[in-house]
């Protein structure tokens, strides 16, 4: 039996550091996006952090637009975006586009992918796609209580190692794991934790070569682009939205923001 009192005293677990700001999102320092498959508890995590009472339902596809809220942790103010739940970021339905466009163009400082621990394999499909777009991501391994009830065990450390990003087990409905999640968000946005995300290895040699070839050209045209490989994949797949973004130069919006941050880092 763990002594709960000792946990409460530990700085990692200090829930007092969390200040729920509801819809007050002025002067935020960081942007956090919540992504995940439908019905994994994204809205529950959202309500937990912001103190808002968004209607949650045991119901896939409940959130079709994005909701926003704010919270403060360790003296940093965060804006939290609850994205619509999607199975992938590839297809063309409106909800998937909202989610993808935000991760791509909205450039959140960290993307928390809420994952259903009882259906890890299918949820990982989305995680891997998110990792193609952004470096800074955290897996929130939610519904651990349900996984426990079904005798499913997950080796979180192995998962962290394989994905190259932090994995935080939670039971959001019972508020379990939320302090740890906040601490991890803090570590990633402040650069204490560096993510080295897993990248998809193509099974087809022709495709792999083509991606490398094209990514090289994209990097030349848009120096500093963090996800040239992913842009290359989308161009090869004939994704009209991305083709347009390359043509108009909109895709380099990503570059600008990253460049600014690097400048700050060097100062």
């Amino acid at each position: 039996m763990i002594d709960q009192n000792k946990c409460e005293a530990c700085p990692v677990h200090n829930a007092g550091n969390l200040k729920r700001l509801g819809i007050n999102m002025d002067k935020f320092d960081f942007v956090v996006a919540l992504a995940g498959n439908p019905n994994t508890g994204k809205s529950t995590v959202f309500n937990n952090l912001t103190g808002l009472k968004q209607h949650t339902g045991n119901w896939p596809g409940k959130t079709v637009t994005r909701a926003e809220g704010g919270f403060e942790f360790n003296k940093n103010r965060y804006k939290l975006i609850d994205l619509p739940g999607t199975y992938s970021l590839l297809s063309t339905s409106t909800d998937e586009e909202i989610a993808r466009d935000f991760i791509l163009f909205g450039q959140p400082d960290v993307t928390v992918v809420v994952v259903d621990a009882t259906r890890l394999e299918r949820n990982l499909n989305l995680v891997l796609q998110v990792l193609e777009i952004t470096d800074r991501a955290i897996v929130c391994l939610n519904l651990m209580d349900e996984a426990g009830r079904r005798n499913i065990e997950i080796d979180e450390r192995a998962l962290t190692r394989d994905l190259g990003i932090p994995v935080v087990p939670t039971e959001a409905r019972q508020d379990v794991g939320i302090p740890e999640l906040l601490k991890t968000v803090d570590d990633v946005v402040t650069g204490k934790l560096i993510c080295k995300p897993y990248r998809i290895t193509g099974s087809s040699k022709g495709l792999t070569k083509a991606v490398e070839n094209l990514a090289e050209k994209i990097k030349n045209e848009f120096p500093g682009l963090p996800n040239a490989r992913w842009v290359a994949l989308r161009l090869l797949d004939g994704d009209q939205k991305i083709i347009d973004a390359v043509r108009s130069g909109e895709i380099s919006g990503i570059v600008k923001r990253n460049a600014i941050e690097e400048n700050f880092a060097t100062v």
Partner: protein, 477 residues
């Protein structure tokens, strides 16, 4: 942007196109394949499943029953019927109490107070007999059934039952050429059509999405449940022995809801065979695990998010509507007020299809919000039938402490069981409320589809009412 840059970008896109042809295989499929392979590889490494416990198979046992071929639909109807029965049985007494307070006690007090301050009678009429009474009315008619219905419905949702409803239905939608996910948006429409229409964003094909948008109106929404429940209680429940009244009325409301589902299937079929031709696309529907509902949390969100939200909307729309009602009942042209002009003018047609002019006028006044149809109908009925001793003069929404009084007034206004049945049908089949119409426009960005979604149900409503009236009269004579 320099021309050079533009050229470079075009070259980039062109080389992507060339590479795509060089690879030759289906890139989209092989990308998806790599994602799936890698996800499976990682998951296999980190997930360990010990032998399955009985608890898990418990979920599957429930699913086998509630989504079974034979029991799925009967269980669905039974659950809905129980929810309505509890609502109908439970709402009457609190409704009477609230009406007693707001209408019988507060209304005369307010009226006397305003009169004693020396404010002209017509301002008193517009504000107190129009706006205040409309608001008081909406609260006493709607709050109790909503405060019972929404928490019950939300508990079913939280438990995980609604996706099972969709699972039972998706095959039917696919068979009529629509998207299986329409079963989900249809179910959401039972709460609010505007929300159901926004939810159609989960459907990727534009063709199937428009079908889902047009037919969402056939899901009875929050604003229409109270009308259905009240009219069923008076006319259907009143036609059977008292001990059966609650059950039979609940069954009548469930039948109207079912009829709505049948119409949504029929219209989807009609659309997908004519103006919106095409094949149904494949999709996968996930059945979430059953979760013990968190009762307090559910009560809180269903009261705040739904009950108060819907009530507030109804009150906001009822106040101006109350003013309009008072005005049409008190502004006269050639000795007769506007309301009576309209009712006399439309009555021949309306009676022919088994409705009446009062109902048509009420539906015009209630375009902003379906919630205020019943109060408007009652007020206009009193006005036209000239019922003595109710209210205090024309254009006043009178006190009404029990369903018995409502029933007496409607009967005095010449209502029959046929009028009641047809009002329930017309409440199902008429134009969406203004919020929903606006949402349809925002989502489709098309005036054509907005107009079709608005007009189609009205035409169907008149057709169905006409058909029922003819059949009714044939059998009755």
């Amino acid at each position: 942007m320099t021309t050079n840059q533009i050229n470079e970008r075009e070259k980039l896109i062109a080389s992507a196109n060339t590479l795509r042809w060089e690879i030759g295989e289906n890139i989209h499929d092989s990308i998806i394949e790599s994602i799936y392979t890698d996800a499976a590889k990682i998951a296999n490494k980190v997930v360990r499943i010990k032998e399955q416990k009985k608890k898990y198979s418990f979920d599957q046992t429930i699913d086998r029953i509630v989504t079974s071929k034979w029991l799925g639909f009967p269980i669905m109807f039974l659950l809905l019927a129980v929810v309505f029965w509890v609502t109908i049985e439970g709402a009457n007494v609190p409704s009477g109490l609230i009406a007693n307070l707001l209408v019988d006690t507060l209304h005369p007090l307010l009226k006397d107070f305003i009169a004693s301050v020396g404010i002209p009678y017509w301002i008193n009429g517009v504000l107190i007999d129009g706006a205040y009474l409309a608001m008081a009315w909406v609260i006493s008619v709607m709050l109790p059934p909503m405060a019972i219905f929404f928490p019950l419905f939300t508990l079913l949702e939280d438990f995980g039952y609604l996706p099972r409803v969709a699972f039972n239905m998706d095959n039917l939608y696919r068979k009529v050429g629509a998207h299986g996910k329409q079963a989900l948006t249809m179910t959401m429409g039972f709460g609010c059509n505007a929300a159901g229409i926004i939810a159609t964003r989960i459907i990727d094909s534009p063709r199937e999405r428009i079908i889902a948008i047009i037919t969402n109106n056939f899901s009875l929404c929050n604003g229409r449940w109270p009308t259905q429940i009240l009219i069923a209680t008076i006319f259907i429940g009143g036609a059977v022995p008292a001990y059966l009244a609650g059950l039979v009325s609940a069954a009548a409301v469930v039948s109207i809801a079912l009829l709505g589902i049948i119409f949504s299937l029929l219209v989807s079929w009609g659309l997908s065979k004519t103006v919106l031709k095409g094949e149904a696309s494949a999709f996968s529907l996930e059945l979430p695990p059953y979760r013990p509902p968190r009762i307090l949390r559910t009560l809180y969100t269903s009261i705040i998010d739904r009950t108060i939200f819907v009530l507030w909307r109804a009150v906001v729309f009822a106040i101006p509507a109350g003013i309009v009602i008072w005005l049409v009942a008190n502004v006269t042209i050639g000795g007769t007020n506007i309301a009576e002009h309209f009712i006399d003018w439309t009555d021949p047609f309306a009676l022919f299809v088994g409705l009446n002019g009062v109902i048509l006028l009420a539906y015009i006044i209630a375009i902003p919000a379906n919630e205020i149809v019943v109060p408007t109908v009652l007020m206009l009925t009193v006005l036209v039938a000239g019922i003595a001793g109710v209210g205090s003069g024309s254009g006043v929404m009178f006190e009404l402490d029990s369903i018995g009084d409502t029933s007496a007034i409607l009967h005095a206004g010449g209502w029959t069981v046929l009028t009641g049945v047809n009002l329930m049908l017309f409440s199902l089949l008429h134009n969406p409320c203004s919020t929903t119409i606006y949402t349809i426009y925002k989502e489709t960005k098309s005036i054509k589809w907005t107009v079709i979604s608005t007009i189609l149900p009205i035409i169907m409503g008149f057709a169905v009412c006409f058909f029922v009236a003819q059949l009714w009269r044939l059998i009755a004579s």
